[in-house]
């Protein structure tokens, strides 16, 4: 009974503080909105409208047709028409274009004779995304090689490749729930105890009969609610902005999310028992955040990574969450079939929460 009173005291106080701190409150709503629009619209794996230049030295109907096809794909936007490959190089150097297409005078003959590559792509190699695009664009002359007369084939191939409907939002949004939760949840609790230490509140608090577990739980529970609010925002936006489906049951989605929220919160608490200042807590959180984003399978395909990276990724909660949430939301998978990932998250939760409670001492030294 007394224990409950104290637990509620901490939770109530925490909620009041969250609601009054405009920055925290802004983060709760702002981070999901920002991230979702960022990843949904801007950071799109479907690259479009790369500025490009063309030097068409052949100027035949075939070459013009190819340029028109590439333009209509909207991957590249030919803003510059120049006379020679040399000028293309200059445009690239000046940063005015990222892709240059050079069609030599004997283009038609090369296409018909299968004499090596018919045209040349000049690419700004500093940007891996553009490189990737170029590699895919390269398939156009090759197709011409094998099918000398059929001009419409490369066009179709190109379109399919680039997924002109921008359907990647569907793949991004479920994982994004995990990224946003990792970012905000770890940070919120990561700062929760450090902030009290920095402001001197902790010295008073540890002189009261409050128990460690009461303090830890009281700090976590309000943020669980906040995490759920965030997830709801993301799901709704995903649904209405990007038509992201939820093929599995909504209950399963929230079970997975709940476990993941708790996992991140207790990780934050653990950080907050180790850090002395809010800045340190943020550094540690960031240190954890970066590999989570890069290795979890959110950014890059999990199985494309080298084995050691895959092993490392298995330690990160986000990896398991990305698997779970994609499974439930996109494939409509049954949670029973993904118990290992749920168990992995629960294990992580148990370990971090215990460690945080043990590490937190009601002493100053």
């Amino acid at each position: 009974m007394k224990s409950l009173t104290r637990l509620f005291a901490i939770m109530h106080k925490e909620l009041l503080q969250i609601l009054r701190d405009r920055l925290t409150f802004g983060m709760i709503v702002g981070v999901p909105l920002l991230q979702l629009t960022l990843f949904g619209f801007a950071i799109n794996t479907d690259v479009r409208n790369l500025r490009a230049g063309v030097a068409d030295e052949a100027n035949t109907s075939l070459s013009r047709e190819m340029i028109a096809d590439m333009s209509s794909s909207q991957v590249v936007d030919f803003q510059y028409q120049v006379g020679s490959p040399l000028e293309l190089g200059q445009l690239l150097d000046a940063g005015l274009i990222s892709v240059g297409l050079h069609i030599p005078p004997d283009f038609d003959r090369r296409v018909q004779q299968n004499a090596g590559q018919a045209a040349q792509l000049l690419v700004d190699g500093t940007d891996p995304v553009i490189q990737g695009v170029a590699r895919q664009l390269m398939t156009i002359p090759v197709s011409f090689d094998s099918q000398a007369s059929a001009r419409s084939v490369p066009l179709l191939e190109l379109r399919n490749f680039y997924n002109p409907e921008r359907r990647s939002a569907i793949n991004v949004v479920p994982g994004l729930i995990g990224v946003i939760l990792t970012m905000t949840m770890v940070l919120f609790t990561g700062l929760a105890i450090v902030r009290e230490r920095e402001r001197g509140n902790l010295e008073l608090l540890i002189n009261t009969p409050i128990k460690r577990t009461e303090l830890m739980l009281g700090k976590i529970l309000p943020y669980v609610v906040i995490g759920l609010i965030q997830v709801t925002i993301i799901l709704l936006l995903g649904r209405f902005l990007f038509q992201v489906p939820i093929r599995g049951s909504l209950l399963d989605v929230f079970i997975v999310v709940l476990v993941f929220i708790a996992t991140n919160l207790s990780l934050g608490l653990l950080i907050s028992t180790a850090a002395q200042t809010q800045f340190q807590a943020m550094q540690i959180a960031f240190f954890f955040f970066l590999p989570s984003i890069l290795l979890s399978g959110f950014m890059f395909p999990f199985h494309g990574m080298p084995l050691p990276a895959q092993y490392l990724a298995e330690i990160l909660p986000l990896t398991h969450f990305v698997r779970l949430i994609r499974g439930v939301m996109l494939r409509g998978a049954d949670l029973n079939l993904m118990l290992t990932d749920i168990l992995a998250l629960l294990l992580f939760l148990g370990v971090t929460l215990t460690m945080a409670t043990l590490r937190f001492s009601k002493r100053l030294d």
Binding site: M1, K2, T5, R6, F8, A9, I10, H12, K13, L16, Q17, R20, D21, R199, G200, N201, L202, E203, L204, L205, I206, N207, T208, P209, I210, K362, R363, L364, D365
Partner: protein
């Protein structure tokens, strides 16, 4: 179990080291029940460190502490409900209002719901905080913060109150009011340990300990301390105090000179005979006109005497 002590606080050989720095060195402390016990000492003398060890926030490097009959830090959790602690720095929540802070503390001490409301109302009346009830604590003035902190520290009606420089940001009028509150609490049986570097506050304590560089250099009631002082105090009133001061500086027997307006307070060790005569002669030799008389030692003299001697002892 330990024999029940007559003292609310009993510490012996209490030492705290931070690396190579000895912040508190071998302190013996006995605080009887129901008194206001003062800790007087300059900055960095170890007042806060000692108080933190007494309430179990810091573990002593060596020595033993018993508070309200319980061993610290071993049994400190049982103590928390019975002691109140007011930190040197304001440590309630700036972003909560006065009443929210008190409610929070009331809940943390798990006061029964009905009692809680009454108690908070009572405290707000007693500490004159009613008009500020809904103001954020962060926007209170120094004195108001202090009153709020004291209200919070006493919400659970503790037997022992540890106050670390409670009046450092308070004007003299408010300081007097604050002390009135302390006295009325002491009358009701609360033992209060309070650190300060104000002489007038130290003077009000029933007993006090003077700390210097981590050591307890004197303790007793203010009267006892003044009586036991090992120096005689001679007051010199001169129209040219600077010249008088220069003249007296040359006298090796003089222990210390403090100027207060047109007057000098000259401390001379007790074993020197005819001290007043010595001062008069020294002034005459330099041709300084002055009125000289021996006066009662006050607490400030005690403080100067014990801390200066302590430094001499260290240097030797």
């Amino acid at each position: 179990m330990h024999e029940k002590s007559r003292f609310v606080i009993e510490a012996s050989g209490l030492t705290k080291k931070f690396g190579s720095l000895t912040a508190v060195n071998n302190i013996e402390l006995r605080v009887p029940e129901g008194v206001i016990y003062g800790f007087l000492g300059p900055n960095g003398s170890g007042k806060s460190t000692t108080i933190r060890m007494l309430c179990g926030l810091l573990s002593p490097t060596s020595g033993s502490v018993q508070v309200l009959g319980l061993r610290v830090p071993e049994d400190v959790e049982k103590l928390k409900q019975r002691i109140g602690y007011m930190t040197q720095r304001f440590s309630l929540y700036d972003d909560l209002s006065v009443i929210e802070n008190l409610q929070f503390m009331g809940e943390i001490y798990a006061l029964p719901r009905r009692m809680r409301k009454e108690r908070i109302h009572e405290l707000m009346v007693r500490f004159n905080l009613e008009e500020r009830a809904n103001q954020r604590a962060g926007t209170l003035s120094g004195g108001q913060k202090q009153r709020l902190a004291l209200a919070a520290a006493t919400i659970h009606d503790p037997k022992l109150l540890l106050l670390d420089e409670p009046t450092s940001a308070v004007d003299p009028q408010n300081r007097r009011d604050f002390w009135e509150m302390l006295f009325s609490m002491a009358e009701q049986g609360t033992t209060i340990l309070v650190s300060t570097h104000y002489m007038d506050e130290a003077e009000r304590c029933h007993r006090l300990a003077i700390l210097d560089q981590g050591e307890l250099v004197a303790d007793g009631s203010p009267k006892e301390l003044a009586a036991a002082i090992a120096v005689q105090v001679i007051e010199v009133s001169a129209s040219e105090p600077n010249r008088a001061r220069a003249a007296l500086h040359k006298v090796p027997e003089i222990f210390s000179i403090t100027q207060l307006g047109m007057q000098l307070r000259v401390l001379i060790p007790r074993h020197i005979h005819a001290a007043e005569q010595l001062v008069i002669q020294s002034l005459q030799v330099s041709g300084v006109e002055a009125h000289v008389r021996t006066v009662q030692a006050n607490l400030e003299d005690v403080f100067v005497a014990v801390t200066e001697k302590h430094h001499e002892g260290r240097a030797a």
